[in-house]
Symmetry: C2
């Protein structure tokens, strides 16, 4: 799906433009003008002649010029009728805000089916319905009804929730250098879905990092492919809701999504390089770090702090997130000690600069340490104490960052004294934080992503020759013999399983196979074999074998048993299921009696 014209149109028509500042038709028109869109704008509403100092057309057919994008600021039923008109004048790109489709029950679902059919028939690409539109800060096309113009930046954001977009804009307008290349609201995904948008942002040179809020994924196979292609080029950070059953239910009623197994989403995201965010501020932290282009180069972190206790709390969080504290070499320790005035400073990592650390002391500690080859990043903590030089320390860090390539992450905690410093850092494109809470997990996930990309495995798929495939018996539980046959046909060699039906056969086969031997129940009625003592392992000789055979026959009332050569190794469970979104999912874990416990 080529969306270049859709998201950077040369002309936009708004049907349903309004004079009421509370109506979507007003807000969209206002946003388009306020954002500074330079293309042709056409307003349509039979009730008005002029709005926003611009002419208003009675009918879109009166315009008689090419229109790249039509925005429908009208209710659902009106929109459905309009599609037929739009077809006649060769309109192909449509933004549809209206709610009342599949998120609103059975009638709505029928309406949405009609919408999808018409779109296909008329060759129309539709964003929505039940969406809030999009912003392109590249062409300054803002066809959302958000409260503010969107700040320009390099974050491409795809959202299955309009509110999350409005929230991010509300947050970003107060910040610097941190903004959108594109913000796209998915809505009900009648024709454009997250795969199309991800593909568009993958190829967009103005987008450095992609953020997604998802409740479900529509085309799992495509999503995996596009995600893999995209994450090779730029990070994709995903906030997905519905990680609990209750949350999934709530998501279902929100956008009418059919949400799948959340564990499968986590696995799919991870396997194809996506970074799954935990909570909102972790999500924002990762976007900011990637947007500013200063990710840590390894998991070896150095901490400088003027607050010992908080250095310790940060250390705990780093370690819990599997990051590592760099060891400071002895000669560097000596240099810092000399510079900092003797024995008071504790030169381990975290380096505790003590409560009265000056900006100059921060500078010296950074200069002495940051060029150590094995440092992946430096976290500099500051709490506002009596003599803390907040402003000067911020400037010192900005200077240091411009001189050194290793990323510096300032955590300036507090509120009153440190607020302004975060503005300085943003101006210098340094990701700074007001608490240590989110940074360790954010860094750990980014580093994991980088490792993944560097060491990504080529996925090969081994097809089984059709001739070698067996037909799997149509029953819910296979017996061990049937299981082995299926495994063998898939190219996996299980331990041979031999059926014996009498003591004589058991004796004979035992000698052929060789001891030690395992004896298994052959009854199809029993799946949990351990509980009925249906597995006898490590049988050492013929006598033990015969004893166990009779004992087992007594329990099952059947003369049939399976014999296998006893193997040593780890017991594991392997399983597979077909997920609605992502196809075949494989389970691999600790097996035996603990499979259901753990």
């Amino acid at each position: 799906m080529d969306l270049k014209t859709f998201f950077n149109p040369a002309s936009i028509a708004i049907i349903g433009v309004s004079e009421n500042p509370k109506k979507v038709g007003y807000l969209v028109a206002e946003n388009l003008i306020r954002q500074g869109y330079k293309g042709e704008i056409y307003f349509i509403n039979p009730k008005f002649d002029k709005l926003f100092d611009r002419p208003v057309y009675k009918d879109i057919k009166d315009i008689k010029k090419p229109i790249d994008l039509v925005v429908l600021a009208v209710p659902a039923d009106a929109a459905m009728h309009l599609l037929d008109d739009l077809k006649t004048i060769d309109i192909h790109n449509i933004v549809l805000y209206a709610a009342g489709f599949k998120e609103a029950g059975v009638d709505g679902a029928v309406k949405e089916q009609n919408l999808v059919m018409k779109a296909k028939q008329y060759d129309m690409t539709i964003l929505g319905p039940n969406c809030i539109g999009y912003v392109s800060t590249i062409s300054n096309a803002n066809v959302t009804f958000l409260k503010n113009a969107s700040p320009k930046g390099n974050v491409g954001f795809i959202s299955q929730s309009g509110a999350l977009g409005s929230l991010m804009v509300d947050y970003l307008v107060g910040h610097e250098n941190f903004g959108f290349s594109y913000f796209m609201s998915l809505g009900n995904k009648a024709t454009i879905d997250e795969c199309d948008l991800l593909e568009f942002l993958r190829d967009d040179p103005d987008t450095k990092v992609i953020g997604m809020y998802l409740e479900d994924v529509k085309r799992g196979e495509d999503f995996k492919r596009i995600l893999e292609e995209t994450t090779k080029i730029k990070p994709v950070i995903i906030l997905k809701s519905g990680s609990t059953v209750e949350g999934s239910k709530a998501a279902g009623s929100h956008t009418g999504s059919m949400v799948g197994d959340d564990m499968v989403y986590t696995t799919a995201f991870d396997q194809y390089g996506g970074i799954r965010a935990g909570q909102f501020f972790e999500f924002m932290s990762m976007l900011k770090i990637c947007s500013f282009g200063r990710a840590p180069t390894s998991k070896d972190i150095l901490i400088l702090s003027n607050a010992g206790g908080i250095g310790v709390l940060l250390t705990d969080e780093l370690i819990k997130n599997k990051l590592e504290l760099v060891t400071v070499p002895e000669d560097v320790k000596e240099t810092i000690k000399k510079n900092m005035g003797g024995d008071k400073v504790t030169i381990h990592n975290p380096i505790d600069l003590l409560g009265d650390a000056s900006a100059f002391q921060y500078r010296q500690a950074i200069a002495a340490t940051i060029q150590q080859k094995h440092i992946g990043g430096v976290i500099v903590m500051l709490t506002p104490q009596a003599n803390t030089e907040v402003e000067d320390t911020a400037i010192t860090l900005i200077e240091a960052q411009s001189a050194f390539s290793k990323p510096i992450f300032p955590i300036f905690m507090g509120e009153k004294s440190v607020g302004q410093s975060h503005t300085h850092f943003e101006r210098a494109k340094m990701a700074s934080f007001f608490t240590y809470d989110f940074l360790p997990s954010a860094l750990a996930k980014i580093i994991h992503y980088q490792d993944h990309i560097q060491h990504s495995v080529v996925h090969t798929k081994k097809e089984i020759e059709p001739a070698k495939r067996v037909v799997i018996p149509k029953k819910s539980i296979l017996n061990p013999f049937e299981t082995n046959t299926v495994l063998m046909s898939a190219g996996i060699n299980p331990v041979s399983l031999i059926l014996a039906k009498s003591e004589e056969e058991v004796r004979k086969l035992g000698n052929e196979i060789g001891y030690p031997i395992v004896l298994k129940i052959a009854s199809e009625k029993i799946t949990h074999k351990t509980e009925v003592k249906g597995v006898r392992i490590n049988i050492q000789n013929e006598k033990e074998l015969v004893d166990n055979y009779h004992n087992m026959c007594e329990a099952t009332g059947e003369p049939s048993v399976f014999l296998q050569k006893m193997m040593r190794g780890h017991e594991f469970i392997i399983g597979a299921k077909r997920d609605n979104q992502f196809g075949i999912v494989i389970l691999l874990g600790l097996g035996g009696i603990y499979a259901e416990l753990i």
Copy 2:
């Protein structure tokens, strides 16, 4: 230890008062005046006659009036000398800021030992050394060198890190109704430790909730007792660092603490009603909720939201924290639907009021739901969308809170549009939040605390009669027989264990005990019995028994084995160790071959 005079003194002398605004001696004097202390203030420094428009004494002995508290703003060695002088004029309460004691290596540790000895000999109570003093907003005694006066409130805060105190003050000065009754910096705990302070705050009527930042606990047994007594009256919220080995090391170099096993701390806190915070903002959130006195009454939560997606994210977090979503009864659903204008609103829980929800609609939804008996609390989410009435919705919620007893927790997300609303909420003593990230875990922990207090168990200790105690053999590993003897002497009845030394004995004992039987290796050299097949279970008859006996003898080269009656049930591991801080700790878990795996 009676600390009433210490923390609310009628007179304070500062030795080492200074004219240099960067020196502690200046900052403390300034804070004491700025905080509005009404008692007698005496300044001492031989270099000055007058400072802060007040007379300065050459020597403390010149004052010749009773002094309740002496503040030593002088270096470590000078402080040590001064103690002898102070003894002669009957001074008993001292705040000592100086660093250079046990946190600073061997020489410092010796100095601290001397300090402790002198304090004992002279009957002196010392806060510190290596501390930043304390603030009492009750008597307005502020003898810290923090940057700001401390806001008054009902939070008693005990901190083993001075920086954390300064950080909290920096945060709190911009807020309303949220402040300290007392802030106390522990430092190296030469004489006053966390037990003394907890005991003081337990009995303090102006303290409604206690916050603690701890790196270690000095007197475990006392701490458990005082914590239990305190949490019966008011919540104690603890932020403890050193939850990882690396963090513990860092804590050790920070205040010279001997930190113990972190798991033991978690267990001890929980067992005696303390609430352990995870991260900093969770800690602050819990303090705020408890300080405002509006804790949820049960784990049944109702969510109202104008942002479906974020309602889902919040739902996920609530469920992960084992909170529950209230089911909205059908009649209430109908009422809300009617009020909100039909079918568009999704009335499950979370109740999605849609992006254009007005303040009036929020009001109606609250009115229709909040009186439901089973609701423990209502979380109201708002994101700033096009027509969102942020201010009016805030006022609506404040009015609703004043009319209903169930707590309402507003989460107003965003930055630009919602900042002011948080000020409104604080004025009305409502705990509001700028993101959903911390609230679910904060609420869950508070509810767990309330349950704990309501259902707290009386701890009984059963002493074993000395006559029945056996002497435990002095060896590192006991054999099964010795273990059984020790267990029996402690009043636990294990399965009888019988030693057999020959096939004949084995046969005889087997018949006496009755089948099925377990055979165990009696070798003292082997602890992991499974690996050498040293445990044979479920032996059904004499023949199996004899076979297994010979087989085992072959493996060990010894004729001795243990016999036990085979039992059914769960296998578990039990262990105990003596923790430095908290005494005997008991381990109970899944046993057998998985004990070290899990």
